[in-house]
């Protein structure tokens, strides 16, 4: 099992960042390759650019602590845990932390690479929304 962690400081209010990442249906706006997201209870189904449907289980979505956790339910991983935490550093200053734990180890690298790109998009969307 391997873990990778990426973080990005975003020049936008924490509430705006959380409004984006804490809404499970809005993942299409920021995760690379996701074309469509259907949310039914704690189950999120993603339609990907590869044509594959990938199911996720939402484990936590806490707007008070701005913490989101989910698990990929796919044959690609034996274990997966993804967490996104949004921390307010100032009125227009937010730290967003995206962590991935996965087995096989290789998938931590692969998923982690995508989460790094996701953080870049989250920052762009949130900063752009304020302009």
């Amino acid at each position: 099992m391997a873990s990778v962690r990426f973080e990005r400081r975003i020049g936008a209010p924490a509430d705006r960042v959380w409004a984006l990442v804490g809404d499970p249906a809005r993942i299409v706006e920021w995760f690379p390759g996701v074309l469509e997201a259907r949310v039914e209870g704690d189950r999120r189904t993603l339609r990907l650019a590869t044509g594959v449907e990938m199911v996720e289980r939402i484990l936590a979505n806490d707007s008070r602590t701005r913490h989101f956790a989910y698990r990929l339910e796919t044959d690609l991983v034996r274990v997966h845990l993804g967490t996104i935490d949004v921390f307010e550093l100032g009125p227009n200053d937010t730290l967003c932390v995206y962590a991935t734990t996965a087995e096989p180890d290789t998938m931590a690298l692969v998923i982690g690479g995508a989460t790094d790109e996701a953080l870049e998009t989250i920052a762009r969307v949130c900063v752009g929304a304020g302009e």
Binding site: A2, A49, D105, T106, L109, G113, D116, E117
Partner: protein, 522 residues
């Protein structure tokens, strides 16, 4: 009407696998004939001995330290220069059929265009929409992609799964359950990555690549200038050609490579004379890169396994040669024979038993670095047949294609166009091959320069080297690179001169992309 360009690449094919280069296992009459009619290069070097950086250099005309895709798993940036785009700008129709690999394969989300194209739709001969804009990706009007076996969401895999689902199981699973390169043995000898594949030959990716290239060519207007990169995934592992062809070369009859030391003590003596990571990998103490099975120990490789791998490799080389013949027949039938330049090469080599090793890694010797390169210029160009023995590099391909199309070397390309006569190459011609890797904390950094007389390698500081190690081989007296003269006092001046040239390469004044981020193992 200008010259057309058929650019043929294979994956992981050694120089000595072609008959015209002295190969004795595979029969390659088609490429051999191209070599006799055109220019045969006897010392072509890659910029990297793994796929992605090397292929990115072919496309961009830049070294990995310039284009930024420094290792497998690092995507070439989308706005990188592309010779396909430059040719498109000159009015060429452009296609890439087969293995691209400018972007990582392990990409379940489809974040990279190569992995999304087959699902999202691309212009193909069945679905043309080309309207004069740049092509769908990196300047190619059409991309139909394949890789080894039935991996991922690429066009070939999608087609085979849909059209012939029962054939999928016949392929060797390239990756194991941990997504590492599979170490499971197969075939008659238990060699890793070997299987006799039940897939009918006409469904195998070599045939598919040729057929899709033919389909694209047949869809073109006869007056259209075109650039077709036909990129075969073989003879890269797995060695799992269609069973109906696989036995055409009897592995029991295959001679052992000249550079395979049969005695273990001799192998180990040779490895111990090189930089320390050679022996560490051989003994199974270190895996420095993803391109070899993580759970396989090279010291367990047997002579019969080397024979079987090389037999199946030869079969795959022969199937490619025959497929090229079919495509050339179509080129001729369409009336393009006189105006078509054909270039054949590979992205890097394969150890195939040399020094008792298999696969590839940071091992800069001829097995991985000496490539087949044949250029059969369009007959209309009036180029005389020649053999060029000066070192040349795949970094020169982009400038060569643009010269064929009637243009000069663009500012972004680092390599000059290939010479077509030996005396047209500088007397001090040299090539540089780079390696930088970082696999779960094991980083390795290698730079090698090859001249007409020497192969010289420096290892940068990393997890396995302290920055003082190196290798120096005399290519004239020691063509198998068995005697490391790096510490030989009598070679001090040579070492100093070559070290200076490597330093000049490192300091060359070019605009470099920021090194890309490693986001997948391959």
């Amino acid at each position: 009407m200008g010259r057309k360009i058929l650019f043929i690449t294979t994956d992981q094919q050694r120089y000595d696998t072609l008959g015209v280069n002295g190969g004795v296992v595979a029969s390659t009459p088609v490429v051999d004939a191209l070599a006799r009619e055109g220019v045969r290069y006897t010392r072509c070097q890659p910029t990297s001995v793994v796929c992605m950086p090397s292929r990115a250099s072919m496309l961009t005309g830049q070294y990995p330290s310039t284009h930024g895709a420094w290792m497998n798993g690092v995507a070439l940036r989308v706005d990188a220069p592309s010779v396909a785009a430059a040719l498109h700008d000159r009015g060429y129709a452009t296609a890439l059929v087969g293995k691209a690999h400018f972007e990582p394969f392990l990409d379940p989300f489809g974040r990279f265009a190569e992995n999304a194209l087959s699902h999202l739709g691309v212009p193909t001969v069945e679905q043309p929409w080309f309207d004069g804009r740049l092509g769908v990706h990196r300047g190619f009007d059409s991309m139909e992609l394949a890789t080894h076996g039935v991996l991922g969401p690429l066009h070939y895999a999608r087609w085979l799964r849909h059209a012939h689902p029962g054939a999928v199981e016949g392929f060797y699973p390239v990756l194991d359950a941990d997504l590492n390169v599979n170490a499971a043995g197969g075939g008659d000898t238990g060699a890793p990555q070997v299987r006799y594949n039940d897939v009918p030959r006409e469904w195998y990716h070599t045939e598919w690549v040729a057929e899709r290239a033919i389909a694209w060519l047949e869809g073109l207007d006869p007056t259209q200038d075109w650039f077709c990169w036909m990129s075969f995934p073989d003879p890269h592992h797995p060695w799992d050609p269609p069973a109906e062809a696989a036995r055409r070369v009897d592995w029991r009859e295959v001679p052992l490579p000249e550079n395979y030391p049969e005695r273990r003590d001799e192998r180990e003596r040779l490895l111990d004379a090189k930089a320390r990571h050679w022996r560490l990998w051989y003994d199974g103490r270190v895996v420095s890169n993803y391109e070899a099975p993580a759970h396989w120990v090279p010291a367990t490789l047997t002579a019969d396994q080397v024979r079987e791998v090389n037999a199946l490799n030869a079969v795959e080389v022969e199937l490619i040669d025959e497929a090229i013949g079919r495509v050339l027949a179509v080129v001729a039938a369409r009336g393009w024979a006189e105006q078509t330049d054909v270039l054949f090469t590979s992205d890097h080599g394969e150890l195939q038993g040399d020094f008792g090793l298999l696969f590839k890694g940071p091992y800069h010797v001829d097995a991985l670095m000496r490539l087949p390169l044949v250029w059969r210029p369009a007959r209309s160009a009036g180029v005389a047949p020649a053999v060029v023995s000066a070192p040349v590099s795949l970094v020169s391909l982009a400038a060569t294609f643009l010269e064929i199309a009637g243009g000069g070397r663009p500012a972004w390309a680092e390599g000059d166009a290939l010479p077509v006569r030996d005396d047209a190459a500088p007397r001090d011609a040299a090539t540089v091959t780079e390696w930088d890797s970082d696999l779960f904390g094991v980083d390795v950094h290698v730079r090698t320069i090859v001249t007409r007389a020497h192969l010289y390698t420096e290892y940068g500081r990393g997890a396995l080297h302290d920055g003082t190690e190196g290798e120096l081989y005399d290519l004239v007296d020691d063509p198998l690179q068995r005697v490391n003269r790096f510490a030989d006092p009598s070679a001090r001046a040579t070492r100093a001169e070559l070290g200076e040239r490597l330093a000049e390469h490192a300091a060359r004044p070019v605009e470099r992309a920021a090194p890309g981020r490693l986001v997948a193992p391959v």
